[in-house]
Amino acid sequence: MSQIPADLRYTKSHEWMRTLPDGTVEIGITDHAQQSLGDLVFVDVPEAGRQLAAGDACAVVESVKAASDVYSPMAGEVVAGNAGLASQPELINRDPYGEGWILRLRPAGGTAAESLDAAAYAAVAAGG
């Protein structure tokens, strides 16, 4: 069974979001997503300063099996991409909600993107 921490928000496309004390939002892919992809071998993270709209493809995670886009759950400006993933993509397999974070975003405000709580995401993950 995959881990779905109760204190995070989720998307139907298997991203998670964590609001940090400074108001920025940390984004990664869920434990369920990393399990489905298998061993990750490359991760492309966005550069700081890039402006994203909600739903933009903002990163690529590639495993031995398949390549998959990561979608930004909300509009905002990229504050940082996780540089450690360039040499250690397996951090996402090992610690998807911690060291395996993918990017940090300063939300642009406006309409909040649709997000799910842990229980609602668990239903999405169970469905496939």
Binding site: G38, D39, V41, F42, D44, V60, E62, V64, K65, A67, N93
Partner: protein, 345 residues
């Protein structure tokens, strides 16, 4: 679990990359019972295979010796690739692919009935491949006592049959030493568990694919099929055109060799980040082609693949990966053998 030629098979039991490394560094095992062993029995078996196979079973002089070959259509298209093992003058065993087994059997039977050779698919047998530098040492103590000495003395590409049930051959699909063990299906689970207890890692289809691709071995249906010949598939070394032997597809291959095949299959090393996947377009100075197999090589930590290109293509090429052209280099497979890189990175 995925469907593979009609069989439900695991992509990985755990980490696909760890399974890969287990085979390169120690020992791993694959349940390859989907592959079909076919016994051919009768006095005419060698003449039958001299006609049916592009490689020359006339070279098989020592009992137990095996040979890799393509079986061709009259136009040279590849019906299947297989292993043929010479057991005695009235008994050869073939091991064919799962997805092609039905059409193979139909094709072989059509020719076998004319010479009175019996064609017997052995679906009663399971097959477990144990591969890696320590594979033989870990497998031998677990074989039936009566078979151990003979199995232990097998040379490369030799097999031995025991009482028409257990069959051990020093073959594989990984570029490492090891055995493929055919055994009665009811004994397979116990043998698997014993291997696991001896420290042999269970490996899935994912690792099987990365290992065979590093070893530069073709996968039927991806790297070749009935629309291409062995000469266009990196398999010229498996075709015995010399001499008077008349095998099915020979005249088509002779014609193609005389004119020079228009296409070739060769190796591809990606020079930047990304992963080669089948069907990606490849651009060379000699024209366009397509990746037929691609993956991430856990041993080289680079992406590698096989590509079919115009025969004149050489050196630097570009690959369309998700809309971007990524530089790559053509190389001669294998990429890795016996745990060691065989190409320059």
């Amino acid at each position: 679990m995925v469907d593979f030629g009609g069989w439900d098979m695991p992509v990985a039991y755990g980490s696909q990359i760890e399974e890969h490394h287990a085979v390169r560094r120690d020992a791993g095992m694959f349940d390859v019972s989907h592959m079909c062993a076919v016994d051919l029995r009768g006095a005419g078996v060698r003449p039958l295979l001299l006609r049916l196979l592009a490689n020359d079973v006339g070279r098989l002089a020592a009992p137990g010796k095996a040979l890799y070959s393509c079986m061709l259509r009259p136009d040279g298209g590849v019906i299947d690739d297989l292993i043929a093992c010479y057991l005695d003058e009235k008994w050869f065993r073939l091991v064919v692919n799962a997805g092609t087994a039905d059409k193979d059997l139909a094709w072989i039977r059509e020719h076998a009935k004319q010479i009175g050779v019996a064609v017997v698919p052995r679906r009663d047998l399971a097959i477990i491949a144990v591969q890696g530098p320590n594979a033989r040492a870990k497998t031998l103590p677990l074989l039936p006592d009566a078979n151990r000495a003979a199995a232990g003395s097998l040379g490369g590409f030799f097999g031995a049959a025991f009482d028409d049930e257990w069959f051990v051959s020093r073959t594989g699909y990984t570029g490492e030493d090891g055995f493929e063990v055919a055994l009665p299906a009811e004994a397979a689970a116990g043998f698997w568990d014993a291997l696991r207890a001896a420290g042999v890692a269970p490996c899935g289809l994912g690792a099987r694919d990365t290992l065979r691709l590093e070893a530069g071995m073709n996968l039927y249906g991806s790297d070749m099929d009935e629309t291409v010949t062995p000469l266009e598939s990196g398999l010229a070394w498996t075709v015995a055109l010399d001499g008077n032997r008349d095998f099915i597809g020979k005249s088509a291959l002779e014609k193609q060799r005389a004119g020079g095949p228009a296409r070739k299959l060769t190796g591809l090393l990606l020079l930047d980040r990304g992963v080669l996947r089948s069907h990606q377009k490849v651009f060379s100075a000699a024209g366009e082609g397509e990746v037929t197999s691609g993956t991430f090589s856990p041993t080289l930590e680079r992406s590698i693949g096989l590509v079919r290109l115009p025969a004149a293509a050489a050196g630097s090429v570009e690959v369309d990966i998700r809309g971007k052209r990524i530089p790559a280099r053509l190389v001669n497979p294998p990429f890795v053998r016996n745990g060691k890189p065989k190409i320059e990175i």
